[in-house]
């Protein structure tokens, strides 16, 4: 089993190295010819993120691998998620904004959480009419990372049902659960309404 995992991991690793070469050629072309190739860049990063996510999903399914927890600045995390997705949202004519960029640090797996946020923003961008908003709150139950849009909302807010339909929500749900502090575990909450009237994606980390 681990041999297969090693083969898959190394294949994905090679693919991402290739994608990085492609992205740097884009950077070079942009610099030399004064172009802006945001959508090409986005397609490359999107493809790489998909590969990583599939590997994560496979590992979760096989119950191998563990979280890599570090103290991460919540503000930086959101800023980076916006940085990755803002050009694509702009291209779609959507307004992507964030609120509450505090420098509070939280114990979480940065790369996985960043991917979950990015994926949620991309989901929202497919359904939003004009706006996507990211916000965070901290309280007794932990840190909440929230992504809202002004689209028609989720067809169902049953997390287990929705997580069985797509790899993105499956990974989000499982990774949320794996974050824990003592007995308290994280969770994924889906709802409709919120500040913008559409889908509300909430990742709760203890």
């Amino acid at each position: 089993m681990h041999q297969i995992l090693d083969i898959i991991s190394s294949g994905i690793h090679d693919a991402k190295n290739q994608l990085f070469l492609a992205e740097s050629l884009i950077t070079q072309a942009e610099a030399e010819h004064g172009l802006k190739l945001d959508e090409a860049r986005f397609a490359i990063e999107h493809a790489a993120a998909r590969l990583s996510r599939l590997l994560t999903a496979y590992k979760l399914h096989r119950e191998v691998g563990q979280l890599s927890i570090d103290m991460v600045s919540v503000g930086d995390l959101i800023e980076e998620a916006v940085m990755i997705n803002a050009p694509h949202c702009r291209h779609l004519g959507l307004d992507l904004s964030s609120q509450n960029l505090e420098h509070k640090a939280w114990p979480l797996d940065r790369e996985l959480t960043l991917d979950i946020l990015s994926n949620a923003i991309q989901n929202a961008s497919r359904h939003a009419r004009s706006r996507i908003k990211i916000s965070t709150t901290t309280g007794d139950s932990g840190l909440t990372l929230r992504i809202e849009d002004d689209g028609p909302g989720y067809p169902s807010t049953d997390v287990e049902l929705m997580a069985s339909k797509g790899v993105g929500l499956y990974v989000a749900n499982e990774i949320a659960r794996q974050h824990h502090r003592g007995e308290r575990h994280g969770s994924l909450v889906l709802s409709n309404g919120g500040a913008l009237g559409g889908a509300v994606f909430e990742l709760l980390l203890p």
Partner: protein, 451 residues
Amino acid sequence: MTDGTELYRKLRFLVIDDQPAARQSLRICAQAMGAFSVEFSSGYQDAITRIRRNPPDVILCDYMLGDDRSGQQLLEELRRHELLNDEAVFMMVTAEQSYEQVVAAVELVPDDYIIKPFSPERLKFRLDRALQRKNFFRPFYVAKREANFDKADAFIETNRDSEAGQPYRFELLRQNAELKLARGDASAAEAAYEEILELHPFPWARAGKAKSLMRQNRHNEARKIVDSVIESSPQYFDAFDLKTQICIDMGDYEEAQQTVEAVSQRTRRNYVRKRLLADAALLNGDATTACSAMEDVLQNDVVIGGFSVSDRLMLVRSLIEAGDALSAEQTIRKITAVSLETATLNEKTSYQALLVMLAPDEARARFNTLAQSCSEIGLDITTQVDVIRAALALNDMELAKCVTAALFASDEIRRVFKQVHLLYETRGAEQEFRTLQREAALLKIGRKAAG
């Protein structure tokens, strides 16, 4: 990316990657951020040479460097040998998501890492943060480098609850714990690691606590923690080294050797670890393994300053214990008079003690002179055992007993008890050893009763 390009223009970059195409990509990235001076390195050894000659401000290093080397190993070597100031930024670049697990576990971490593919904008975002942090900690780094621990401490105390220190609160906690260990205040270090562990059971913080406990001679507690760290983070190799040291301290040489041997096989080119393996093996009576580990060090550790007189002496010692006097003598003859001039007192004494076993007629007079003063000067434990070994070989029971009694009087005997016992046993002096042990015990009881 218009802001900050001024700053990046002034910084010297070093890109380390064994793949030419990847080096080009990173150069393009660096230039897009505004970098002007970008130097290349194709791998481990070359990188070290370049860094020594011309220390860069920012290192972009791929995790996989080929030839059994990793960027993590390079980073550890640079920081441990102080080839790179704390002010320089070391950024690990990798396509491997699992690198995250290495960073989350280990104690010596890069300033940040980034997973390929990424845009120059995102790399700049992470570098900006790292540079801001470096800038904030600058006075602390200077104080630490000058071993001005009070000043370093004051920096941490002032900033812990300050507004400016707020984004760096966690880093301050981490630096505080390391500082307490560095200045030898093990119980304060323990408390500092406890404070970190309240946030999350980070493997490196658990290991730090174990180290603090070890320094307080609380070996059983330390070992329990380090065992659990190894179980939960098998990729955290330093934890194996720590366990080896704890086991040696406890006199459990067999477990010590097994532990370091297992991890050494997975990190074949880590020569610091090879030396630890030699130590553990020799204590465990496995002179053959100690010999081959030291031969490997002497042949292959050519990267940083190379091997020292101590390393050659360790090989001589191992060869003597393995019964190969011929090779031992060949090896000790390779130590030059010039290198002995700059050697430490411990090294000089060990040299005489080992030489006298191999060429008694030639070295006896000098050894006797040195040995007369050896109970007064605080020699380290390895050298003391060398003197005991030589004294027993020369039938100088008085000297052997004098040094052994001093070992018993300190708590250090625990580390070498079996080894010294074996030396006496092979010379048919078991009785003398037991008498020394009894006398030391009686002395301790007497002291306790009196105090």
